[in-house]
Every structure is written in structure tokens, then in C-alpha cells.
């Protein structure tokens, strides 16, 4: 008997084997040459362009689009990479609808922005397809820097530091580098092993050694790193997850959404990855959407996403909510989990409707239950593994505008550090800026 979306319980192979590739294919395929020229031509080359201001890495958008328009996408890519060495990944994963494209004057005027993200991908793909790396290292400075965490923040910092002539050693607890680019981003945003291809391309700068399977707090200590290196950059992301605080949440089948996604991202064969018939995702952010959509794409019959507040408060953008809805995910607003039921394994989740008064959330007393074989918790990640003695603010490592922590010689950036949204592009920008400051500090003499 072959399985189908209707097969009860948690099982693999709910879809015909050949359909997985199409299910998980590129969400926004790359523009072809003609499409790119037409899309580029829509840009007005604004003065002091709002899109550039909205980009956390301040990419010169009008300039790179003009370079595409004149048939030099490689030059456009260089403009992008100068500001954002992970411009290729950002082109795929940035929620442009809340960043550059949100403020594009053509969005304001017509509700149809210049397709900045897709143009950025067109340019960066063109350059990377040539296999060239357009940067070389400055003369060796003899200084060494330890970067902890090989996600977007760590990679951006390492590249910039290597370019400045410093020797960088990058440590990561996981077996592969890339951070959430490799383990977190939805697979249809960066298919075909793009995250590793990008890391390999970035490493062509030289001067960066990667040591995977090395964890700060488990073998590595901050004091040790400080002693061995001239500077330390912490980019450890948010390795912990919040608890539901609902009765019965340790039942079998109740998982962290990030673990489900990471397993999915690392799966060799998606037809072998089990998924429930009835899946309930709890949370309202990007992680919740990604878990829900990918569960649906794996062949789950019913996927519900339940968020405790109203639609307007949801962290996932309208675009992402629409994406989820278009894939058949049902979204419930204003409902909080109260209990997980089941005999060993989860069978049902009970929710209570909520109302928000003056910012505080109250249960209305009315409840409902959703059948569930699998429950994914996506209610936020937390800082885990920050070194002792470092100042923490709002649950994150406290940093100033250039990434300096409370400990001299130690910088931090990306999701683990205070300030900025938890986005790939923000992590890149913080990594780059910290690298510049580290460089300035190391060269002081």
C-alpha cells in the first residue's frame, strides 16, 4: 500500500516520488535576460534612493540595476557584494516586501515595486556562474581573529576581515557552515544546495580556516580564544527555543519547528521524511510559516498555523501569510495553546481564544481543539551558550553600534546580538560593520 495525504499518523512518502522535486522547487525562479532588462528598466534611478536606505546593508540599488540595464550584470554583482557578500542569499530570502521593495517609489505610486530582490539574484547568479571571486586580500597584517558561528554574521565578518589581510579561524558547533542559511531557510527559497555553493564561493577569498564541530562552552572557551587571537567575534545566533508552557507539551510528536526544518533541509530524500496527516504549527513568525508550508509540501493533509494574537501583529509578512494560505495552510488568529492531549503521542491540541486589551493578552474562556499527529513549536528562538560574564540586554548580547560587547576585544553580531531585526541581511550588515571596527582597532597599533 502506498501512502497518501490521508494516511493516518506520521508517515513518509505521502506523495508520488517524482513530485517532491517540483513541490520544493524555486519559489522565485531566476529572471531570464529579457525579463531582467524589462524589470531593470522600471527603476527610476532615484536620487538618494529610499530602497538603498531601507536595505540594512545599504546596497546601491539604483546603480546595480542600471548596470544590469546596460548589460553588465557582473558589475552589478560587484556593486552588491561590495556591501553585502551574501547578496546572493539575501536576494533569495530577504522579505523585500518589508525592506527595499516596501519603500520603492513605484510601490508607493502603483503598488508594484521594482523587483529588486529578483534583479539582485539575476546579477549575483551571473557573476557566481562565472566562478570568479572579485576580491583579493590586502597585504597580510599578521593579526588573527576568531569568529564563533559560521552563519551569515560570521561569514560576512570573516570575509571582510580576510580581505583586510587578517587571518581568520571560524568555529561552528554544527557539522556544516552556513548557519541558518544551511539549516533554517525554507528549502524552496534556496534550492539546489545554494547555501554551500555560496559558502564555497565566499571562501575563495582565502585566509579563512573553518573548524566545524567546535562549540563555545563545550571545549572552546572565550578566555582561551581571547588568549589565542587578537580579537573575537561572536555570531552564535539563537540556538535555544521557547517553551509552550502548555500542559502535556512533552508528548511524542511535539517538536521544535526549527528542528523539523533543519532535518528537512538536511534530508537526502524528501520522500523518506515522515510528516503527520494533521499538523499543527504554533507561532506567527517566519519559522512558523516555513514549517507549515513545508509540512504541507511534504504531503500533510491538514496543516494549521495558530497564532495567539491578531493578524496585524503577526511577524510573518502579508506576503508570507498569503504564501501559506496559497499552499493550503489554514491560519487561526487570536488563539493560544492550553493543553496537548494524547496517550503518549499527541492526538489533539486545545486552544483558547484570546483578546488583546492595551497590549496584554487575555483568554476569553472559549476553547476549541484541533486534531494533531504532529505539533511544531515556532514561538521564538532564544540565546543559548553566551559566554559567562558578558552583558546581556533584552535576552541578547549587548552591543554598541559597531558590535562591541561589554568585554574588551570581543565583538558580537547577528541574531545573538542586541539591535536590528533577526534577518539574514541584518546579520550580514552587523558582521561586516563589526569587522570594519575590529580592523580599525587592530590597526591602531
Amino acid at each position: 500500500m502506498t501512502n497518501s495525504p490521508l494516511t493516518p499518523g506520521i508517515t513518509a512518502g505521502r506523495l508520488p516520488e517524482e513530485s517532491y522535486a517540483a513541490q520544493f522547487s524555486d519559489l522565485h525562479p531566476v529572471l531570464d535576460d529579457h525579463e531582467a532588462l524589462v524589470a531593470a528598466d522600471r527603476c527610476y534611478f532615484c536620487h538618494d534612493a529610499p530602497c538603498m536606505t531601507a536595505c540594512p546593508t545599504s546596497i546601491d540599488v539604483p546603480l546595480f540595476i542600471r548596470q544590469i540595464m546596460t548589460g553588465t550584470p557582473e558589475a552589478a554583482a560587484k556593486t552588491i557584494f561590495d556591501q553585502n557578500i551574501l547578496g546572493g542569499m539575501c536576494a533569495r530570502v530577504c522579505p523585500t516586501e518589508t525592506l527595499c521593495e516596501e519603500v520603492c517609489v513605484r510601490e508607493i505610486a502603483e503598488g508594484k515595486p521594482v523587483e529588486i530582490g529578483r534583479l539582485q539574484r539575476y546579477a549575483t547568479d551571473a557573476l557566481m556562474a562565472k566562478g570568479v571571486h572579485p576580491y583579493t586580500r590586502a597585504e597580510a597584517t599578521g593579526k588573527t581573529v576568531a569568529v564563533v558561528g559560521a552563519g551569515p554574521a560570521g561569514l560576512a565578518a570573516a570575509h571582510r576581515l580576510a580581505m583586510k589581510g587578517h587571518d581568520v579561524v571560524m568555529f561552528d558547533a554544527r557539522p556544516k557552515s552556513g548557519g541558518l542559511n544551511e539549516y533554517g531557510i525554507a528549502s524552496y527559497k534556496a534550492p539546489d544546495g545554494y547555501a554551500q555553493k555560496e559558502v564555497d564561493w565566499l571562501m575563495q577569498i582565502g585566509g579563512i580556516t573553518v573548524e566545524t564541530g567546535k562549540k563555545l562552552g563545550d571545549g572552546l572557551t572565550l578566555d582561551g580564544l581571547k588568549a589565542d587571537y587578537d580579537a573575537v567575534f561572536l555570531a552564535i545566533g539563537l540556538a535555544g527555543v521557547n517553551a509552550l508552557r502548555a500542559e502535556g507539551e512533552d508528548a511524542d510528536g511535539v517538536l521544535d519547528a526549527v528542528d523539523f526544518i533543519s532535518e528537512l533541509r538536511q534530508a537526502e530524500d524528501l520522500s523518506k521524511l515522515p510528516v503527520g496527516r494533521n499538523v499543527v504549527v504554533i507561532g506567527g513568525g517566519m519559522t512558523a510559516v516555513d514549517a507549515a508550508v513545508q509540512a504541507k509540501l511534504l504531503g500533510a493533509q491538514n496543516v494549521s498555523m495558530v497564532y495567539r494574537r491578531g493578524r496585524a501583529r503577526m511577524a510573518a509578512s502579508a506576503f508570507e501569510q498569503d504564501l501559506a494560505a496559497s499552499k493550503g495552510v489554514q491560519i487561526f488568529y487570536n488563539a493560544a495553546p492550553v493543553a496537548v492531549y494524547g496517550d503518549g503521542a499527541v492526538e489533539e491540541v486545545e486552544f483558547e481564544y484570546t483578546s488583546e486589551e492595551g497590549g496584554s493578552l487575555k483568554g476569553t474562556g472559549e476553547t476549541f481543539r484541533l486534531p494533531a499527529d504532529q505539533v511544531f513549536k515556532a514561538i521564538g528562538q532564544t540565546l543559548d551558550g553566551a559566554p559567562e560574564g558578558i552583558e546581556i540586554t533584552g535576552g541578547k548580547i549587548a552591543v554598541d553600534a559597531v558590535g562591541r560587547t561589554s568585554i574588551a576585544g570581543v565583538w558580537a553580531g547577528g541574531d545573538c546580538a542586541s539591535g536590528g531585526e533577526d534577518l539574514t541581511v541584518t546579520a550580514v550588515s552587523e558582521g561586516r560593520d563589526a569587522a570594519e571596527d575590529i580592523h580599525a582597532k587592530l590597526m591602531e597599533g
Partner: protein, 432 residues
């Protein structure tokens, strides 16, 4: 629906839209389909002498300039006159004219510059039943090197001479097609008139190189590694053509000479503009080469609607704008306007600011919250911001009333006064 029947130098056609002499009119098959599509007339592809016809290149013969989304803005060609035998063309013309008696069929002709050549061929062509002749003095490539086409059109004396020969050889109307590859279009136009021309048509194509292949280092279109200048036409040449039409229309000596307007006509609006400047009808080539014969339907419906809205007869449109084409020196220097930005329409792109700040008069202010406003005390009303603003109608020019203060000069707006009486003009005639 307005009556579009047009009479041009005695030739009547159901509408003023003719196809210019070119590939669209090269043979019976095309012309029949053009007439079925609704074209009012055609100027048959230029006929040459009896005997072996000219040959065309066998590599690419067109080059192009494209705008956004590959919109074809300018076309360039190195094609010659018809490469089919004279006899075949004449037979086809005879058949077509018989089947479409209400349409204009004009024979375009180019033969060597001697009286016999012209006087022999004109009566022979007349036997087809054609309604008139167009003398091709325009072709800028290939034929000019053989002493024909623009080689004749660039020498007013030759134009006059050849036109006279043709007028002596026929009673049918003779239209002289002018080349734009000259210094002043009035010289050839006046020469045509002296020779007895019934009308002029213009423009033929402009000498041009549309692009250079930066790998092979040759002009395009490239034939075996080499290129040559070709004739430029299409939307890009319309402004040049319209100026030449207007110059002839407002020149007292040629004011009554009918003009067939050619050059970039693509829509009814282009046609209306040419006609307002003094063209009695228009001819179209590149637009049909781009979109096919069907566009004439839009031209017919558009021009009819316009004439209905204006409650104007077609004949009244012809030359309606000519009196308003003047010389710079007669423009009113006391007409003062100021750019005004409509804040509701403005999308804050800042293009007006960059243009005015970097290249004009530093007359636009940008506030920290990206509000753009015009400084009346700096604005010289050059119109650059209006032209670069991506939102049509967002920036307009407000005219100051007489007596109102011009904040830039600190003087109130005065009465009409032009350069001829301006104090800075050393040649000024004092206004008594």
C-alpha cells in the same frame, strides 16, 4: 465618425494614410493585403530602369535601436530600390489598381539622371493606371553612389531639372520625395516647386550607423565583417521630419505646396501632428514593418475620434498649427512660468531634484522627509524637471499673470516683448 476622405494634390483616397515606398509596398501580394486592411493609398516600392534589376545584400540589411521591452524606436536599412524586374512590377500595379480603383496608387521612380531615362519610363508606368508619381531623390545608400537617389536630392538644380522632365512627360501629379541629408530643406523644396512639382513628400531616411559590434569592431548590420551607413527611420526620426515639414509649410515661397508627411508615423496622433504642421497626408513605413498592416485600424478610429471631438473637418486640421511655428526671436520674453510640483502626485523619487540641482538652476528643495518643492526665486522655468519626472502631470508650469511678481528677477511681469526689441540685443530695433 468623421469623414477621412482625403484629397492630396488632386489624388483622392478614403483616408490620409498611405504606405511609403518600401518593402511593405514591394509587390502585389503585400499591396492587396494592405488595401484589404484599410490603407488609403500606397506608394509602390521604387521602380528602376528596364533591364537586370538591382541586387540586395544577402546578409542582414536592417539594424535597430530599441527602447524598454525591446520597443523598436529606430530602424536602419541598407536596402536598395526594387530588386524585381520592371515588367513584373508594372503588371502587378495594373492589376491592383483595377481591383482597387478608390485607393491611391503612386509609382515611385528612380532612374539615372538623364532626360531620356525619365521621359521614357514615366509614360510606360502611367499605363498601369497609377494616380501619380513620386520621384525618389532620397535613398541615401547604394543608389547615391550610382548618381541617383540622394545624390540628386542634394543638388537643387538636379531636382528642378528632373522634376521638369517628368512634368513634361505626364499630366499626372508628380510628388518629389526629399532627402533629409541636406543643410536646409527649403533649397530642395523650392527647387522642386520651380521644376513644377505638384507636391513634396518627406522625409526619406537619414544617414546613420545604429550600432557598432564591440567584438567584431564593425558597424551593424554587419556583412562579412564590414558595415556601411544605412537609412534611419521610425519613431526616432519623427522630430526631425516634423521640423522639416513645418519649415516648408511656413516658408512663404512653398506655403501652398502640398506636403506628404513621412518619418516615424506610428499612431493616429503622429499623423495628426504632421498634418497640423502642414502635411496634407502621411506615409508610413517602419510602423507597419514592426506591427503589420492592421495598425491602420487604430489610425482611422483615432483620427476620426479626434476630429469628432474637435468638431473639425480633416481639411481644417491641415496646417492648423503652422501659424504658431515661429522663429525664436519672436517668442515672448515676458511670458513667465514657474514649475509647480503637485504633492499628491509626487512619489518622492528625487529625479527632479537631481536634475535641477546637478545640471540646472538649483531651484528645487529637498526636505529631510523627502518633500520636493520649487523655489520660485530660482526657477527659470526650463521644463527639465517636467521632462524627467516619471509621473505625467505631476510637475506643471504655472503662468504668471501680467503684473504678478517674478520672484527670480524681482520684477513684475510686463507686456509682450521679444528679442528684436530687447536692450541686450545690439541689433535691436527700438520700439517707437
Amino acid at each position: 465618425m468623421a469623414d477621412l476622405t482625403s484629397t492630396f494634390c488632386g489624388i483622392t483616397s478614403p483616408n490620409p494614410f498611405w504606405l511609403a515606398s518600401a518593402p511593405p509596398t514591394d509587390k502585389e501580394y503585400n499591396v492587396r493585403r494592405a488595401f484589404e486592411a484599410g490603407w488609403g493609398g500606397v506608394v509602390w516600392k521604387t521602380l528602376g530602369e528596364e533591364g537586370p534589376p538591382v541586387v540586395n545584400v544577402n546578409g542582414p540589411r536592417y539594424g535597430a535601436i530599441h527602447g524598454a521591452d525591446r520597443r523598436l524606436l529606430g530602424l536602419n536599412n541598407i536596402e536598395l530600390i526594387t530588386d524585381r524586374p520592371l515588367e513584373v512590377n508594372l503588371e502587378e500595379m495594373t492589376r491592383v489598381k483595377k481591383d482597387y480603383p478608390d485607393r491611391a496608387l503612386i509609382a515611385s521612380v528612380m532612374v539615372p539622371c538623364d532626360a531620356d531615362s525619365w521621359k521614357n519610363i514615366i509614360p510606360r508606368i502611367a499605363e498601369t493606371g497609377c494616380d501619380g508619381f513620386e520621384l525618389n531623390f532620397g535613398c541615401p545608400h547604394g543608389m547615391a553612389e550610382r548618381g541617383m537617389g540622394s545624390a540628386v536630392g542634394q543638388v537643387p538644380e538636379y531636382i528642378e531639372m528632373v522634376t521638369r522632365w517628368c512634368k513634361e512627360a505626364t499630366d499626372l501629379p508628380v510628388i518629389v520625395k526629399l532627402t533629409p541629408n541636406i543643410t536646409n530643406v527649403l533649397y530642395p523644396a523650392e527647387a522642386a516647386l520651380r521644376g513644377g512639382a505638384d507636391a513634396v513628400s518627406l522625409i526619406n531616411t537619414i544617414n546613420s550607423i545604429t550600432s557598432v559590434n564591440l567584438d567584431a569592431f564593425s558597424p551593424e548590420p554587419m556583412i562579412d565583417g564590414k558595415g556601411t551607413h544605412g537609412g534611419y527611420c521610425g519613431p526616432a526620426v519623427k522630430p526631425i521630419a516634423m521640423n522639416m515639414v513645418a519649415e516648408i509649410a511656413r516658408n512663404p515661397a512653398t506655403a501652398n505646396l502640398p506636403i506628404s508627411g513621412i518619418g516615424g508615423v506610428t499612431t493616429w496622433r503622429d499623423a495628426a501632428e504632421f498634418m497640423a504642421l502642414g502635411a496634407g497626408n502621411v506615409q508610413v513605413c517602419t510602423a507597419v514593418m514592426t506591427y503589420g498592416f492592421k495598425i491602420v485600424e487604430e489610425m482611422i478610429s483615432g483620427l476620426s475620434q479626434y476630429l469628432d471631438e474637435k468638431e473639425m473637418a480633416l481639411a481644417d486640421l491641415v496646417g492648423k498649427a503652422t501659424p504658431n511655428v515661429t522663429d525664436w526671436q519672436y517668442l515672448n520674453l515676458n511670458h513667465v512660468t514657474k514649475a509647480v510640483i503637485n504633492q499628491d502626485d509626487c512619489i518622492n523619487c528625487g529625479r527632479c531634484y537631481a536634475a535641477c540641482e546637478d545640471t540646472s538652476h538649483q531651484a528645487i528643495e529637498m526636505s529631510p522627509d523627502r518633500t520636493f518643492t520649487v523655489k520660485d526665486d530660482e526657477c527659470v522655468a526650463c521644463n527639465l524637471c517636467v521632462n524627467v519626472c516619471p509621473i505625467e502631470g505631476c510637475i506643471t508650469m504655472k503662468t504668471l499673470e501680467k503684473g504678478e511678481m517674478d520672484e527670480r528677477t524681482g520684477k513684475p511681469v510686463g507686456d509682450y516683448a521679444n528679442w528684436t526689441t530687447h536692450p541686450n540685443n545690439v541689433a535691436a530695433v527700438s520700439a517707437e
